[in-house]
Amino acid sequence: MFGLYETAFGSITWGEIIMVLLGGLMIYLGIVRNFEPLLLVPMGFGMILVNIPLGGLMIYSPQGFPAEATTLGQLLQDIADGKVGLLNVIFAYGIKTEIIPLLIFLGLGALIDFSPTIARPISFFFGATAQLGVFVAFSIAYVSGLFTLNEAACVGLIGGSDGPPTIYLTVALAPQLLGPIALAAYSYMALVPIIQPPVIRLFTTRKERAIYMSPKVREVSKLELVLFPAVIFIVAALFVPKCAPIIGMLMFGNLLRVTGVTERLAQTAGTVFIDVLTFLLALTVGGLMIAEVFLTPQTLAIIGLAAVAFVFSTIGGLLGAKLVNLFLKEKINPMIGAAGVSAVPMSARVVQKMGQKANPRNFLLMHAMGPNTAGVIGTAVVTGILYGMLVK
């Protein structure tokens, strides 16, 4: 009787058992601790799906890369023959082609309100200086010898605190590291409320944290809101052409949001559309985490370097705000610079909470949202610059 079918018990390795447990841990963190549940739950389940042997959802080549059909015409036959699985197809045609990360950015654009950035354009400066962690983590990763130049750039970009651009660059430069890099990028975003406060306390005085900023932010006209995505896209793409796909999608999504006549499109892009793409991305990225690829010293290094990247990006934002304060009569609270790390809206919430603790009169959320959303643009620009420099 037992000869009639095959079980996976005999084939499962210790590495796969560890990966299944890690997948379970991610699902636990998502459900019980509410750490980025929309990403960690599908990612964790994707890990479990591919680490049960003989399942065939994601087939790997002997070199540890996801198997691919040679041509689109061959695809159906390869699926029938069990040479590629469901997740292979999503990876090959959705992620490797960069379609899913870019379309997620479109949905993100439809969700972001850029009016705090428009009202206080200096936010752009904080969004730029807060990319410091990208370069610090890159340098450490590369000099350590554990990573090649291209891999180190992708590890560094985790410091941009934005998932889709990190995935966009990693697919182009180091697809073999996509699993651990995506995992670190998304998990650390959930850890922003834990990582940022001690760094902010270390780099600001109590007096600085208590600086009062009037909660009133200039009202932005509809014309400004509509012009913003078009103008920012044109200028950014002229200076950094390789950022055009990312910033183009982001700004297109935002234009849908602000026109006033494309509400249905914006609503779809910001809800169902982005949700479907996110779980496809997260499930497939989870499917990239097989034991042979994931349980390596590189993965541990990525997890450590991601923390370094987040810390230095926070420092970069704070130093940017302190620098600007040297030239201002009416000082700004330097904590709002820390929100330039992107990670919308977690880092702005951290600043709001710390601001109120230091001075109960303070209401910094809208001031922090400016650098926060400018950080998304900053990360897109950095991605474009690195892409232009490193992708041959």
Binding site: T117, I118, A119, P121, I122, S123, F124, F125, G127, A128, T129, Q131, L132, V134, F135, F138, S139, Y142, V143, G145, L149, A153, V220, S221, L223, E224, L227, F228, V231, I232, V235, A236, F239, V240, A374, I377, G378, V381, V382, I385, L386, M389
Partner: protein, 49 residues
Amino acid sequence: MVDLAMVARLWSAYGVNILVLIILLLIAWIVGLAIRRSRVKDKQGSEKT
């Protein structure tokens, strides 16, 4: 072997990033200022008539 010249080149990307975002800052500021000024002028014009 670590190519320190390449590390330095990539660090220059940080500077380029800051420069590009400062340009975006200036453009956003100028566009905002121009729109607000034209609104004020329009308002003053309509008040006169």
